[in-house]
């Protein structure tokens, strides 16, 4: 095993003398490493590494995957020093609220320096999974050149690159199995990057280019799909027509996950039949997504494939209640469903009726900014789903108004929620039947759902909501708060009451310095805290920074704003010290 060889070469180092002293353990290091190497869970590995020096070393030598939830919490040097044999790295960069334009451009989280260090220390790197990082074409080209064994790249919510970077990956990564580009800000130069996969290249298993808006070279795509016999996941972009889809399905009936292209084209009867046949031929399909631009009358071609589907992502297909109902009749095995609120309550009733095994539901708004008599889903749809789908444990629900009673009913029907994200789109919207705050709704959630890990609250909320959260949500790890609370007391309740809290993100709440400072001892056990447009001042932040030197306390300054207010505060623990790459508008206190 090459890892053992590497270690023997390093026997000169002072640590190795320590390792040779087999105090309590009678296992040779190689055996210990092999055993510990079988541990997959990060938490288990963390625990194991704390037992004793031998176990710490066995764990670090045998570790192959590393997950870094905040790229600034550790430096590449520290990482590579501790874990010499990593094959797969997952990195997350910007704070989550950057998804909603609350973090300025050029904030940071650039992957490049990480890659430079990896090229030296992890030449056998195989996988890179990035979320909310800045990735340039130069970085992608560097990656393609530097890692001969490179297999999988997944970029989610990243920015800074173009199809030139993809072309470099396609051309130079001879062993590529996965190219997964999701919801990134990408410059689509329409330059035939797909043709850069060499003719001899056949290893692809996952290809997702659904977000690109330009045409791709279909000929190259078809040839690629034909020769990559192990292709399991194929997610196409809008430019792929139904006719082209049929041809691809014909080439790749083994697909497990399919993202269709545009589901809209004038088809002849024969073409329709062929397409239907293509779908019925795909016996392994368990995930369906895409349907950019849907012609609802063609949805029946999907019916033959629906019986085995476990994940249906129609979150970009604004279907109405009739269309979704007709489809769901065939989808009895669905576990995860993402839809647009155009299906309305009637559509949700169909979900409750036909999908008893449902575990996850996400309902996205078709028109988040609509005023007046806008449609969508309401409390009755929510209740309908909970009545039919008792296994529901993950919900993301966008609506215009809600009632306390409805939420209480929902959690009574489905007490096993682990993720409860309710977004009432009008800030500060009270219970629309009683005009009361929505405190009791979230009170019901935290009291009933003891396994709750993630909570997002909305609507008109007073400190009482936070009291409930602090008192009952003992397994809560992530909390998202907006336009809520009455005073510092609210935030204090959460900081003092939730032992497992890791991520707290707050915007537009009346929490000030007292609240911020009440978490002094808490923040080191958390990944991060985000507070924007609250009542925190620069002085409060400075005090926090002074008292807790192992936290990075960063303030994002806006132009022309009051110097004493801290509009955007990002606090996180780090062993790497203050950022070396902070732009001028990020002040590290």
């Amino acid at each position: 095993m090459e890892c053992c060889n590497k270690r023997r070469m390093m026997k000169e180092s002072p640590e190795s003398n320590f390792m040779n002293r087999r105090g309590s353990s009678c296992f040779p290091d190689e055996v210990l490493e092999r055993v510990i190497g079988m541990l997959k869970s990060r938490k288990d590995r963390s625990s194991v590494s704390l037992v004793c020096k031998e176990w710490y070393n066995a764990e670090r030598w045998s570790r192959r995957n590393v997950f870094i939830g905040n790229c600034y919490s550790v430096s590449p040097e520290i990482l590579t020093r501790r874990f010499p044999n990593i094959r797969s790295v997952t990195l997350k960069g910007k704070p989550r609220f950057s998804d909603f334009n609350l973090v300025p451009a050029n904030w940071g989280a650039d992957i490049h320096f990480w890659l430079v260090v990896f090229a030296e220390k992890y030449p056998f790197l195989e996988e890179l999974r990035l979320k909310r990082m800045t990735v340039t074409d130069e970085s992608l080209k560097f990656l393609a050149r530097s890692f001969p064994n490179f297999k999988a790249i997944s970029l989610q919510n990243c920015d800074g690159f173009s199809t030139d970077g993809l072309a470099a990956i396609a051309a130079d990564c001879k062993n590529l199995t996965e190219l997964d580009i999701q919801e990134n800000v990408i410059d689509d130069k329409n330059d035939n990057w797909l043709t850069c996969f060499p003719e001899s290249f056949t290893s692809l298993e996952v290809l997702n280019f659904s977000i690109l808006h330009n045409d791709v070279n279909f000929d190259a795509l078809e040839k690629l799909v034909t020769r990559c016999k192990s292709l399991k996941t194929l997610k196409l972009n809008k430019s792929i027509t139904l006719e082209q889809l049929q041809r691809l399905l014909f080439r790749a009936p083994q697909l497990c996950e399919l993202g269709t292209g545009s589901f809209s084209q004038e088809l002849t009867t024969q073409q329709y039949t062929e397409l239907e046949g293509a779908f019925s031929n795909c016996k392994n399909l368990n995930t369906l997504s895409g349907l950019w631009v849907v012609t609802p009358q063609y949805l029946p071609v999907l019916y033959p494939a629906c019986a085995n589907l476990t994940f249906l992502n129609f979150s970009y297909a604004p279907l109405d209640s009739d269309d979704i109902a007709k489809l769901l009749v065939h989808c009895a095995n669905i576990r995860r469903l993402w839809v647009v609120d155009t299906i309305e309550d009637k559509g949700l009733e169909a979900v409750g009726t036909h999908c008893p095994l449902l575990e996850e539901l996400r309902v996205f708004p078709a028109d988040p900014f609509a005023e007046g008599d806008a449609r969508g889903v309401t409390d009755s749809g929510f209740i309908a789903v909970s009545q039919g789908c008792r296994n529901l444990h993950y919900v993301l629900y966008f609506c215009r108004h809600m009632t306390n009673a409805a939420v209480a009913t929902v959690v009574q029907n489905c007490p096993d929620f682990t993720h409860f994200r309710l977004c009432i789109m009008n800030p500060g919207q009270p219970d629309y039947r009683t005009s009361e705050p929505m405190d009791e709704a979230f009170g019901a959630v935290v009291k009933t759902c003891s396994k709750l890990q993630r909570l997002a609250i909305s609507g008109l909320l007073t400190d009482l909501t936070f009291e409930y959260i602090g008192k009952y949500a003992k397994n809560l790890e992530t909390l998202s708060v907006a336009f809520a609370g009455s005073s510092d007391w609210g935030m204090q309740c959460v900081l003092e009451g939730c032992p497992k809290l890791r991520k707290l993100e707050i915007r537009d709440c009346p929490f000030g310095n007292a609240a911020l400072l009440s978490g002094l001892e808490k923040y080191e056990s958390m990944r991060s805290l985000w507070m924007s447009d609250c009542k925190v001042t620069m002085n409060g932040c400075r005090l926090l920074a002074k008292e807790m030197p192992r936290l990075n306390v960063e303030v994002i300054k806006e132009d022309g704003s009051d110097d004493s207010q801290a509009e955007r505060v990002y606090v996180y623990r780090s062993v790497a010290g203050p950022r070396r790459d902070a732009p001028p508008f990020v002040l590290t206190l």
């Binding site: 909603f100 631009v293 609802p296 970009y316 039947r433 907006a482 400072l517």
Partner: protein
């Protein structure tokens, strides 16, 4: 502990304490009185108070609580960075509702197209859904025009701002109407008007030819003006057989001459 620490450092926690109310609204009583807006010493939110944002608090017509009064002043229009999506039609809070820009853009385009599709497919409510779609289009900044093709059962809608050239548009229309191909575009993507014989060949054929209604209400052949000018002046598109379009040619030629 926090309070003691704060006092030590001369930090007046009271300055940030609020009993009720939300940012921008100043302090309020404990929900028992109508709130008077206490001007903030820092004046940071000053500029936002001039932006009177109307929050649509639905279902609250009769009973507006004092809490809600405060909320009317809450959101402010801020652009910390340039939102790459279209500018908001009404003043909106940055990043709220929490929908990713990518999704916002995709859905905005879709709602208009789908409304129109569903309208024509089901009932004769095309006009109303088209009107609704048009309003949505206007508010999203897209340039949606109806596309009809002689012989096709449904009208479609395209967003002209999605395309960069006549070739792009041609490809998109070809996908929508698979029996239609737009040929005969020169290297600049414009019909070679100067070559009268080529033009007459096209118009005599049974090939389909795209035409459009411009701002003046005239029906023109697509391709005579630069792309940007076309996007600005096109109100609707109609794809007709060349032989039917023949009546347009002379007018088109005239307009072309008057422009150059």
């Amino acid at each position: 502990m926090a309070t003691m620490l704060a006092k030590e450092h001369g930090l007046n926690l009271k300055e940030t304490e609020l009993c009720l109310g939300l940012p921008g609204g100043g302090g309020g009583g404990g929900g028992d009185t109508a709130t008077a807006e206490t001007p903030r010493a820092t004046g940071k939110r000053g500029f936002s108070e001039t932006v009177d944002l109307k929050l649509n608090l639905q279902g609250n017509d009769t009973n507006k609580e004092d809490l809600n009064e405060n909320l009317k002043n809450v959101p402010k229009e801020k652009t910390l960075l340039k939102d790459p999506a279209k500018p908001p039609a009404k003043a909106q809070v940055v990043g709220w509702p929490p929908v990713r820009s990518y999704r916002k853009n995709m859905m905005a385009q879709k709602v208009s197209t789908e409304e129109n599709n569903n309208g024509s497919a089901t009932t004769e409510k095309t006009t109303s859904s088209a009107a609704a779609a048009a309003t949505t289009a206007a508010s999203t900044g897209g340039s949606f025009v109806k596309v009809s093709m002689d012989g096709a059962p449904y009208l479609r809608k395209v967003d002209l701002t999605m395309y960069k050239s006549y070739q792009d548009l041609s490809d998109a229309l070809a996908k929508m109407f698979s029996s239609f191909t737009m040929g005969n575009y020169g290297s600049q993507g414009m019909i070679d008007f100067m070559n009268e014989s080529k033009l007459m060949d096209l118009l005599n054929s049974s090939e389909y030819v795209p035409t459009y209604e411009d701002k003046d209400g005239d029906w023109m052949l697509v391709g005579d003006v630069p792309w940007e000018m076309f996007v600005g002046s096109c109100k609707r598109l109609r794809i007709m057989k060349g032989s039917e379009a023949i009546g347009l040619a002379p007018r088109a030629m005239e307009k072309c001459k008057s422009r150059s």
